[in-house]
Symmetry: C2
DNA sequence: ACCTGAACACCGTTCAAGT
DNA sequence: ACCTGAACACCGTTCAAGT
């Protein structure tokens, strides 16, 4: 997994050379590259690679996704994979965006608040469907086509729910942080027992991860409506 | 980083054999072991190992923390480190709890709600101080002595703020998820640009990570008070 | 008893040599 | 032009041999 860039380095989006993995320009240049490309003779496609990688992660975990192991799974050599992806990190970025593509956008007929709730639940749903992939979520900025689609819908929903941009933007971002936080720590070992055993030790009931999510989402949205009542 | 245990496996806390890394019994058995231990002649102590590992992560990132490299840093061989920690994962667990030990608990004179806010901000503060360590947070349940100290204080604050246990418990857990979510995604590459470039593209102002955190915390706590008004 | 050099079984990635 | 075997420079971890 790649490290964060050095603070103070020039903005990655504007520099002339190769763009950093996963930033906006990286995605657009990748699209150009894919269009220019001739079909490969060996039957290997990036789609097949991504699906096989995801299946491997789902079944055996992120650690099992090694370039060599994936090549085995595809009956080829590890070097051959490097004709389709330039690094293991790039592969992870592609798999993550593929999973975000499973998000079903809310029906346009729903109210703004209902759309906000729908999208949060969908994000949680698709991520929980692939719990062992989650540590890869932080490997790159979430700017692939599916992530962008979700973010545009999500922010749009907040605006449609009647919040001014100066409220909708931090509200949207805070809600994403909350959803990712619950998913991350509820499915990883961090949340598995976490503070909870303690709580059991104190004789309190332990709510399920889903209950904590519902509770937090509802409380946050109620607080939002309470702090910023919709204009009449 | 270790993988989550197989779902459906017997509870890790109650089985007879060696407890899984980071669970409660693991911590207590570790304490027993440390008490029985004679001082080492080579000057290597677990404290020195933890501090050196944390410094290495802070300066060069989590990837640079290899057993071999850490051994170099301590002028010894990698095999020698295995007399103090049984794996790289165990080392990460110890470093994470060490960092949580930097949390300053709220002054007892503060109100319940002020204590809740204080602890959330402290958790955020100590984690942000070591951004490159964060991916290690999910490697194990957070049940070390410092994590337990923080969790007990955190839940206690919620109760002291006047919420019934059935509210305080999910509220506490949801808030932790939110704090960890903001820290995680604001400091990792995932949040670095995230949905935010998009937003810039749409002409909206981009709030800072700190602003999103403050906004979310305040909104959540307001929602909590609104949904569950304190008895008189 | 304690310590550790050297080995084992892996990694991600590159590149010269093949077709 | 496309593909890939074999190598390079690493890993985490173990264990027999040393003191």
């Amino acid at each position: 997994m790649s490290e964060a860039s050095v603070p103070g380095a020039p903005s990655l989006e504007t520099v002339g050379g190769d763009p950093e993995l996963g930033v906006q320009r990286w995605w657009s240049e990748r699209e150009q590259r894919l269009l220019r490309r001739r079909p490969r003779v060996d039957g290997l496609t990036i789609e097949r690679i991504i699906l096989t990688a995801l299946a491997l992660v789902d079944v055996e975990g992120l650690e099992a996704l090694t370039v060599r192991r994936l090549a085995d799974e595809l009956s080829t050599g590890s070097a051959s994979l490097y004709r389709h992806v330039s690094s293991r990190d790039e592969l992870l970025v592609l798999v993550v965006d593929h999973v975000l593509g499973e998000i079903v956008l809310p029906d346009v007929g729903l109210s703004g608040r209902a759309k906000v709730e729908w999208l949060s639940k969908e994000l949680r749903r698709v991520l929980i469907a692939h719990p062992r992939l989650l540590p890869a979520l932080t490997a790159s900025p979430l700017l692939g086509p599916s992530a962008v689609r979700g973010a545009q819908n999500g922010l749009g929903n907040m605006l449609e729910a009647g919040f001014a941009p100066a409220v909708a933007v931090p509200a949207y971002l805070a809600m994403i942080d909350f959803v990712l936080g619950t998913v991350y720590f509820d499915t990883s070992r961090a949340g598995q027992n976490s503070s909870t055993l303690l709580i059991n030790g104190d004789g309190f009931d332990r709510p399920s991860a889903a209950e904590v999510f519902e509770f937090g989402l509802r409380t946050f949205l109620d607080g939002l409506t309470h702090r910023f009542p919709p204009p009449q």
